[in-house]
Symmetry: C2
Subunit: 636 residues, 2 copies
Amino acid sequence: MSGEERKDGCTVRFSPDGVATDVARGVTVLEACRSAGIAIDAVCGGTGKCGRCKVRPKGSFDPGDTSTLTADERDSGIVLACEATVTGDLEVEVLPRSRIRQHQILVRTLEAPVTRLSPWLKKVLLELPKATLYDNTADFERVQRALGDRDLEMPIITLRNMSRVVREGDWTVTATVADLEGRGEITRLESGDKCGCLLGLAVDIGTTTVVGQLIDLLTGNVVASASEYNRQISRGEDVIARMMYSEEGGGRELTSLARETVNSVISKLLDDVSRGRESPVTTHDLVGASIAGNTIMTHFFVGVDTRFIRLEPYVPVAHHMPPRSGYDLGLDIHPSSEVLLFPSRAGYLGGDVVADVLASGMHRGDDITMLIDVGTNGEIVLGCDEWLVSCACSAGPAFEGGEVSCGMRAMHGAMDRIRVNDDLTSSYHVIGDEPPNGICGSGLIDLVAEMYEHGVIDRKARIQALPTDRVRRTDEGVEFVVERRDRLGNGATTDLVVTDADLQNVLRTKAAIFGAATVLLKKMDEDLDDLDSLVIAGGFGNHLDIDRAVSIGMFPDIPREKYRFIGNGALEGARLALLSDDMRNDMVEIFEEMTYIELSVDNDFYDEFSSSLFIPHTDLEKFPSFREKKLPEGAE
Amino acid sequence: MSGEERKDGCTVRFSPDGVATDVARGVTVLEACRSAGIAIDAVCGGTGKCGRCKVRPKGSFDPGDTSTLTADERDSGIVLACEATVTGDLEVEVLPRSRIRQHQILVRTLEAPVTRLSPWLKKVLLELPKATLYDNTADFERVQRALGDRDLEMPIITLRNMSRVVREGDWTVTATVADLEGRGEITRLESGDKCGCLLGLAVDIGTTTVVGQLIDLLTGNVVASASEYNRQISRGEDVIARMMYSEEGGGRELTSLARETVNSVISKLLDDVSRGRESPVTTHDLVGASIAGNTIMTHFFVGVDTRFIRLEPYVPVAHHMPPRSGYDLGLDIHPSSEVLLFPSRAGYLGGDVVADVLASGMHRGDDITMLIDVGTNGEIVLGCDEWLVSCACSAGPAFEGGEVSCGMRAMHGAMDRIRVNDDLTSSYHVIGDEPPNGICGSGLIDLVAEMYEHGVIDRKARIQALPTDRVRRTDEGVEFVVERRDRLGNGATTDLVVTDADLQNVLRTKAAIFGAATVLLKKMDEDLDDLDSLVIAGGFGNHLDIDRAVSIGMFPDIPREKYRFIGNGALEGARLALLSDDMRNDMVEIFEEMTYIELSVDNDFYDEFSSSLFIPHTDLEKFPSFREKKLPEGAE
């Protein structure tokens, strides 16, 4: 806005970070943030839609469109980073809520003991007969001969040093032999006896977080765990935004960011496990990896096109990515190591869900089990050892911080438990025990349930005109004040409110999940009563109050003892596949046997969804616990 | 030598090339040549031994050791490029004989018709059912389904673009399917019907020259041929010099130079075949390659260590390099294409000889055949459909221009045919019809035979003291003048002579070959008379006069109609393996069945070698054609 002298590059300084970057005149402040490495929340991928990337610039800039901001915000100099453009030197204050912050990442898994360890990797100690003029067979064929398998292959990278390795060990070597999908390969050769150490890597590549474990393949134990948020987040918070970013030319960048994130997790794991050891564990000690992720993350990670997953009819490039080497995938593990990627059943039902099923064991007994993994999308699997059906519902990002004005992911500053008091003030718990900035998924479920119980909303989740200053009418509709601005975290410019529009988004999300679950049961002619078990997978379950989720009609009203939480099933599934060929066979079988139902062309789904757009449901017979309860005033 | 002002870098200018390079003070002139891209002849790899790299510098330099030069040469300012060091700015005249020049490269092969074409590559036209919401299987699995093979793999690079390719062709695609060594893979996917073009590459990587052919895999025809000298030559002319260069840290450079040479040949092939075509043939159209080379070239090409091939007991890293992709090997062909590398039997019996045998067909009939490939090393194979034995003799580089003062490779300026006249002057033919610079292998054989017939040398190849100015005594022994300096090519400073020492080197070379051939026959209890066929493979046979080679006792004295030339058998073998699975099976069988005899620990070899150190042989019974001939004076 200032009329300072024109120059080609503009210096943009960020506070309170104290970092600066030089950018060309005319780029957006969001681009300047990315260039400076400031992780900023842009759920929509920088298209001006989500209104999350609030910043307060001082200096030379064009504010762009500010119509989604409140008058208060505009008055205090706030603009959207994706709308504002740099016209000269600039100082930018990034509001705390606009930042991507430390997450609650779910590393806890079942860590079920594997009964019979059978990783696809083994170490074999070889005492090779020394080469002489009477037996000058090549080193490679000598090792093949000692292993008794002339079909074993060896990657160039391992061939390259083998003559030195063989002689340094005075013809005693340790061979790491891999046999994945029937292709035997000598992954690694070490001098002398190195049979005591055999490590593998299990990874869950989530849209939000990447979690890894170092697995001792000789014992099956987890020897280290680490996590990090997915570095792709600053290019769009959900998969749709990222696919659009990729289609605009950002595909390679997204692949690099995914790989960088995994490599950073590996680096943490190695640091952790090397602490106190005489010789540190190195990247080359990781001789195998098993990776589960949703279809889109897997596509980005491998580096293939996602365009046709986004567009109808939602076609991935590949369900089953053939195994690749660590080198091919740019991973900081042994370059010749094979990497197992969990197969995806559909564009929106990925390898992470196959891994969930594997970890849950639901494919093995005759109990009829339903598995629900709620993230930005809800994925539901129903089945037993005889059959499996699955579907994905675009639940919307309401429980991951999207499409809800006060929503945020389950990270520091998020209300994860909420009780509404009789005076309609709220009591709550905040992750990290600090002043709140917003409400995460479990908090929203609590809030809706409590508002309904206190008569603040009716069965259609409409806010009632109550005689209290906690309910107020604005230009855009009615809103309920969860907390006053003076009690919120640093930088809050408005009260923390939930609006009628927000509540409708939550209602649609819960209706999509319950509707989808009902459709699956109907397809298989099963009833809610037939369910022997209900498995909740994923980070969502970590904070969740099942009673509340049932009371708003999101999860089925079945005896609570049938509910089971498996935590990060994707990571656990990846670990199991690393350790056992039975599990790898199961993985393939789950992938092949699991029927996928495309809800967008399913006639039942719309009916079931519509019937679920009530608290808890149109048909109270489905929610026997609540049948007798007094309905709040204003409910039909 | 001049006392010019000191500066850090020195400019070295080359004439008559007119190119210049900046080098650090203290580097050798040879290194400056390499830096300027001047291909200079340094048989010994720059160790001061071969005395080939003669240059005439003017300016600031230290001449180094010039003891191997003649007084005349020293007087005219000649030094060795590998000995002289740069001490300041310099102008260097490179003598014509010091240069590596245009070669006679043997591209001619049998081009035997293959009776049943069965390349490991095929193209399949697929009309894919269009994806819908009711069938949204991924593109990769859709193609697998259409091909009826769910085990087919696909490299990342092909996966990466497949969704675009499928849709550009409106769901009609052409898949190139490879099946080499039991691993089915979809190498390439093209939009629409592209079944009319399927090309492969056959290459012979020789120590001196690299020759390639573009093969139409639909007809088996050779559609283009091209060649180039191996760019490694400037780092050492023979394999020993190059292995030493590699051990001194030049390994990666040698790998790059080998690959660069092959890529340059590919570029020539593509230019050639694209001429006049509407759409040019591109590197991606080359979807498979078959490569034969000696063990050391194959190791350099793949990029693995050669140190233990050079040292006793001569152990390669691998006989059978597993198939690699074009990308892995840095080749300018389709990156996903598989590259077949011919297996090597031993450190000094390479894939080129396996290819020779394949091309000769000697492994198929019950005729007893001997195959001889003479290069820097001589390789000999004896056998039929029942058995094959082989050996390599370090024939020495006498026939490739090494260890003989007047020797040079069969390139422009080389005498390849020589007759000694009654007045002891010589008549000769020069490759390229220009004034001679030296004598290549076939010329040397002619010369020795003619000198013997004219009584210039005795049966031990010692020059006789004849009353002629063509024979003269020097400080180092006796020499025979083949041609006066004034009739030689530009830059000659001395007469073209052959010395006693040269002749002993030729004698040892021919004795090694004949001795080795005799050992093989003896091992199998066969006699010279039992030979049904004698196959000469390689460039050497191109210029060779068999009668002369027999008359000096290098090749067996059997009926001349039993001799057969197959030309570049390595290239022909590579072509056959590209075209037919029978041939690929034969290749593996030859490799596996062929017994290798290590002559350095063979008791018979030294005896047979010693007995062959006569013209034609100690035992004249072995050379019935010459039994009755009058022996020249001086012979015992």
